[in-house]
Symmetry: C2
Subunit: 289 residues, 2 copies
Amino acid sequence: MIADVLYERIKDFGPVCFGLDTSATYLPSELLEKYDSRAAAVLAFNQALVDATADVVGCYKVQVAYYEALGLAGMQAYAKTLAYVRSKGVPVIGDVKRGDIAATGSQYAVGHFQGDFEADWITVNPYMGFDAIQPFIDEAVRRDKGIFVLVRTSNPGAADFEYLTVTDQRPLYMHVAEKVANMAANHRGSCGYSAVGAVAGCTQRSEVETVREALQGCFLLIPGYGAQGGTAEDVAAYLENGNGGVVNASRSLLLAWKSQPEVGFAQASRNAAIKMHEDIMTAVLKAGG
Amino acid sequence: MIADVLYERIKDFGPVCFGLDTSATYLPSELLEKYDSRAAAVLAFNQALVDATADVVGCYKVQVAYYEALGLAGMQAYAKTLAYVRSKGVPVIGDVKRGDIAATGSQYAVGHFQGDFEADWITVNPYMGFDAIQPFIDEAVRRDKGIFVLVRTSNPGAADFEYLTVTDQRPLYMHVAEKVANMAANHRGSCGYSAVGAVAGCTQRSEVETVREALQGCFLLIPGYGAQGGTAEDVAAYLENGNGGVVNASRSLLLAWKSQPEVGFAQASRNAAIKMHEDIMTAVLKAGG
């Protein structure tokens, strides 16, 4: 069961989620020049990074926007990146933020849970309502896959709509959290966590307890660490005994070679992933588990 | 300017938007059997429908979910469908409902405003906030493209979050509408409508005036006609002198051949599109403009 697989993986390898939001502009120029196309270079970069980090991260997240930007060749690089991670036996999240109703939602789920674009988990946008989430859950159950529903994102613009206060005095995102938790309850593995998780940014420390409690039994996909200001302590407060969530970092790992040019880009990313893992686990221990 | 192009097109050809949400299961079996792959059959079906209807519809909308479901071959069919419509000089909307922040949002916009997946307009999901809409507007301005932001969708689940009442007593979707209208104001063509439009379903008649007023100067992409219960009268109430919006129909046009098997699938879709156009224009005239 997909939730148990992620749970065991986090237990053994820690909660670092390496975000392969790979812009061709992030690549060392020597690598870029070696390939005929930006898409081919991006794929080679990703594969080298996966080779270098598969034993020091909990999972990968591939942000499809960077691949769509490169057209069909980019989508092929996306497909091959997902397949490469899966061939290593490491869970991979397709960060596609899809959301649509009924038959259309099912088509998205089919597209991202099997075939060329098969991921283990995908991210889902809840704006349109439950009938834009349910088709993803139905397909996830059918294929033993999982979803992370956007609840509280880590961007400043989250304030615009997610934080609007509803007449019961709770912000919109808490309504979404409540509904996601209800949906999640029916899809728990033996680890206690569900195949229905949530995206919850770690940039607002004051809300961590409330959000974590509202999303009991949900894995959290946690953006906002590092570049966006989230600290290891913020992250540790979201985790439960160091599990129950994965902490994404993209640019800080992808661009690690810029601050350690002497070790090569793959080793630089590995070093950065190990350091991030240690930082988080130190904070987890300090937080008392 | 993209808004003026759409305005003129609606003026000359009417507001019917033919939704190419083409599931392979919608194809006549003879057609499906002629091709090696479902994706190739879907593309041939789309091309025949475009040939048969380009002079009786205002624009096309291609729902990418149906193509993603077919993997890389499907994305190629998506690319070729968009290119085929564009080669006829007809505006095409990529119904991709993307939404992500900053650099990632820009990547989506680049992906769908140029290159293999180039559309004239795309749909955008506002859940994450302004900083998940602005990158799409920036790219749209740069490339003379347009967006439709999801405001009030036509599905029952719209009630779950879009209708939550915020403390100022307005529903969430009216907050979104207000912000979209503000953003739209800076991007109007000489026709008076903006390159920033909104998706507003026609299934709740009681709200039409409020929504239309909140979205002054915005083209509306109107789903919900036909199968979902919206009538020509509902639609007419959204339009302004028969312009200022496009009315999507997908299954009723794609599957028209099932109720007129004797004329062939392409002619059946053409007949259905003409009838839909007439229904809407009759209601527009009745509504007094």
